[in-house]
Amino acid sequence: MNDLKNETSHSVLAMLFNRAKQTAQLMCGLPDYDAYVAHVKMKHPDQAVPSYERFFRERQEARYGRGMSRCC
């Protein structure tokens, strides 16, 4: 019983941490890499999954390449 409770609170914490990390990354224009990998595997099974490094570079260029509408 106690174990189960620990387990649940642990997973809640893990989820909160994950959310916070995703939020911080998306504030910098970086969407979730795991979700992207899952997407490529499901929708384009014939294609190789880009590495995190390639994904990161592509997203960085996409966000800043043409400048970014940043508020005043």
Partner: protein, 677 residues
């Protein structure tokens, strides 16, 4: 709604009204900032609960089952269904900038009451509505940008006008933000050193994330933040050292040139080297500082020393000239209603919304939080002793250049102060002088330093917090300068491309350098004129910026109004039409007064005429030092007047195209109804 809920909301209404009454009715004694926080919380809670729900349910008819672009397209990159909280963070980080921190500080010269009323009313009925409606419209059009929606819905000509307006706004925005940095760093070796250090720190982070640990934003940001704090404390030693401090003590014009060169170089370098890493730093620092300030205000609850209303509502204030109407309403743009948000709300956020109903908290909700930031900035400025506030914000032309003349001038306005007090405040924050540090950032920094020092560290940390606040503002202003120059560069290249196709190619080095150079020359010109302007520059540039930002909001609300009519929602048209009309009245009155007002302190042409008359009599008017200088001031006035006229023409044109489209759609719908009958 249950009885308990009704009771709760009735209680919130009564509490909010009481807090507003305390703020409005207090005369002659200080009011606690708690009333400001309570009034804002209640008004925003009511606005969100009732007005945004009305807009969501009745006006926009949000439907959780209607597939959003993120769900339909879902490419894992741009279009990704995203958790509401995560997306809220993204959206808020994108809309929060320097604007809501500066406008309210400048508006404080009329007292805290006009500012707080406009922030609350403007946000609830205009700003939040604009963000919310544009976000939904863009989501329903596959995440289209504001420019594309205007072109598609109002026609190509309207799109062209909007584009010209947008380019002009970018130029003036970059100039005014650059001016804020120059004013904050002039003759401040501590501040200049710290801000200069952000460049090598960003480069180091950029290299780290590119080659050493690719893509590790978190690690690089922690390293960057540690180095940033090291630079911040190192700045104190630099300022204390006779040799080093000389290297980092720069005058206004020197700093202006440094920014111009920096802006050009940074905008042509690859994004991973400077722009991206500094954006990560400034984003985290921004969100962290806003949270820290909110906690600081709630824990220390400072007294507001600024009167509710000062005598400067008659337009005679030293910070900016002009009457409460229309100038208060353009001085506070961001925080009440900001046209720039329409670009963000039609940018990346609509491509990531999971359910249409999420748009309420993202559009309306995020703007509520941004308005809270504006309320905090107003609180920090009004918590200062008014004499210190006016010493910081009045140009040298009004208070002179030493503490004696400043104390005499400010005391004569009714805010009695001794020269020693002004000198002591400068020593407390680790500067040689606080006089005429216009532009809002230093005022906010002193306010933040007082609040945070009260909260953590006491007087010993005052100078540290002051320079921390300067760094935090300068950091994201520099990011905006760099990113904005790039945005404007591509706009200019689009135009160049229609003249000579090779120059329009984004890979063309010549085209790149030419377009970037044109853009930097544009904002650099206004920046330099602002720096050498004896009236401080903010006086001239901030109203221009306010007018342009509200003009953009008017364009966005025109689009929203037309689309409400087109989709058969004409009975709810006041939701967007009322704020639109108000913004048109404010911006057009302000533009007309800036051009034609007979008072040379307000009207550009009257000012030019006054100078021209003196030139004809070969009389040099202080603070100009030669007839040649006066000729240049006349030319500046004419340029500023022309820019005002351009903004007015753009907004009238787009509103006209909007009216045409709305009338056509309305009669079309009416005909269709008759045919059906």
């Amino acid at each position: 709604m249950t009885v308990a809920q009704k009771g709760l909301w009735a209680g919130v209404s009564v509490l909010g009204a009481s807090a507003m009454a305390v703020l409005a009715l207090s005369r002659g004694e200080t009011v606690n900032a708690a009333w400001m926080v309570i009034a804002a919380s209640c008004v925003f809670a009511l606005g969100y609960r009732f007005y945004s729900r009305f807009i969501a349910d009745k006006v926009l008819e949000l439907d959780a089952t209607r597939p959003t672009p993120a769900v339909r397209i879902n490419d894992g990159l741009d279009y990704v269904p995203t958790n509401t909280f995560v997306l809220f963070g993204h959206h808020f980080a994108a809309i929060a900038g320097a604007g809501p921190l500066i406008g309210p500080v400048l508006a404080a010269q009329m007292g805290y009451l006009p500012g707080i009323i406009w922030i609350l009313a403007g946000a609830v009925f205009a700003g939040c509505v604009q963000d919310f409606v544009v976000l939904v419209l863009s989501t329903r059009r596959g995440g289209d940008s504001l420019g594309k929606m205007i072109k598609d819905e109002l026609g190509r000509e309207a799109g062209a006008f909007a584009l010209v307006g947008l380019l002009a706004i970018m130029i003036i925005l970059l100039a005014v933000l650059g001016l804020v940095v120059v004013k904050a760093l002039a003759n401040s070796p501590w501040g200049t050193f710290t801000v200069a250090m952000t460049i090598p720190i960003a480069v180091l982070m950029g290299v780290y994330m590119r080659f050493i640990r690719p893509g590790k934003i978190g690690e690089a940001s922690v390293i960057g933040l540690v180095l940033l704090f090291a630079a911040l404390s190192g700045g104190a030693s630099v300022a204390a050292d006779p040799v080093w401090s000389m290297w980092f003590t720069l005058t206004g014009p020197q700093l202006a040139w440094a920014l111009i060169v920096y802006g050009f170089v940074a905008a042509v370098l690859p994004v991973w080297l400077v722009l991206a890493p500094r954006d990560y730093l400034s984003t985290f620092l921004k969100v962290g500082t806003i949270a820290l300030l909110a906690i600081g205000i709630v824990f220390t609850l400072p007294e507001l020393h600024m009167p509710a209303v000062t005598k400067f509502i008659d337009g005679s204030g030293p910070v900016w000239s002009g009457n409460l109407f229309p100038f208060l309403f353009i001085t506070i743009a961001c925080g009440a209603v900001s046209g720039f948000h329409a670009l963000i709300a039609s940018g990346t956020t609509p491509k990531m919304i999971e359910k249409e109903t999420d748009a309420r908290v993202l559009g309306y909700g995020a703007m509520v939080v941004e308005s809270f930031v504006a309320v905090m900035a107003l609180t920090a400025a009004c918590a200062l002793d008014p004499s210190v506030y006016f010493a910081l914000n009045s140009p040298a032309a009004a208070i002179g250049v030493d503490v004696e003349s400043a104390a005499t001038a400010i005391s004569s306005w009714g805010f009695v102060v001794t020269p020693d007090t002004l000198a002591q405040v400068a020593r407390d924050v680790g500067e040689t002088s606080i006089l005429s540090r216009t532009g809002g950032a230093p005022t906010l920094a002193v306010g933040i330093a007082q609040i945070l020092a009260d909260f953590i560290g006491g007087n010993a940390l005052m100078a540290f917090w002051y320079h921390f606040a300067i760094l935090f503002e300068a950091l994201f202003i520099l990011t905006t300068l760099d990113a904005g120059t790039r945005v404007a560069r591509f706009m200019i290249q689009d135009v160049l491309g229609s003249i000579s196709a090779p120059l329009g190619r984004t890979t063309s080095l010549v085209g790149n350098i030419l377009a970037t150079g044109l853009c930097v020359a544009g904002w650099g010109w206004f920046l330099y004129q602002g720096v050498v302007d004896p009236f401080g520059g903010i006086n001239t540039l901030w109203p221009l910026f306010g007018i342009s930002n509200q003009m953009l909001a008017a364009i966005a609300l025109t689009l929203a109004t037309v689309l409400l009519v087109k989709t058969g929602k004409a009975r709810y048209v006041l939701v967007t039409l009322a704020p639109l009309v108000w913004l048109l009245i404010c911006t057009l009155t302000a533009a007309a007064q800036k051009i034609w007002h007979a008072d040379p302190a307000i009207g550009f042409l009257a000012h030019a005429q006054m100078l021209a008359k003196a030139v004809a009599e070969e009389r040099v008017m202080a603070p100009a030092k030669s007839l040649e200088q006066m000729q240049r001031l006349i030319f500046n006035d004419q340029i500023d007047a022309a820019l005002c006229a351009l903004f007015a023409v753009v907004v009238i044109a787009v509103a006209g195209f909007g009216l045409r489209t709305a009338l056509r759609a309305h009669s079309g719908l009416a005909t269709a109804e008759v045919a059906r009958a």
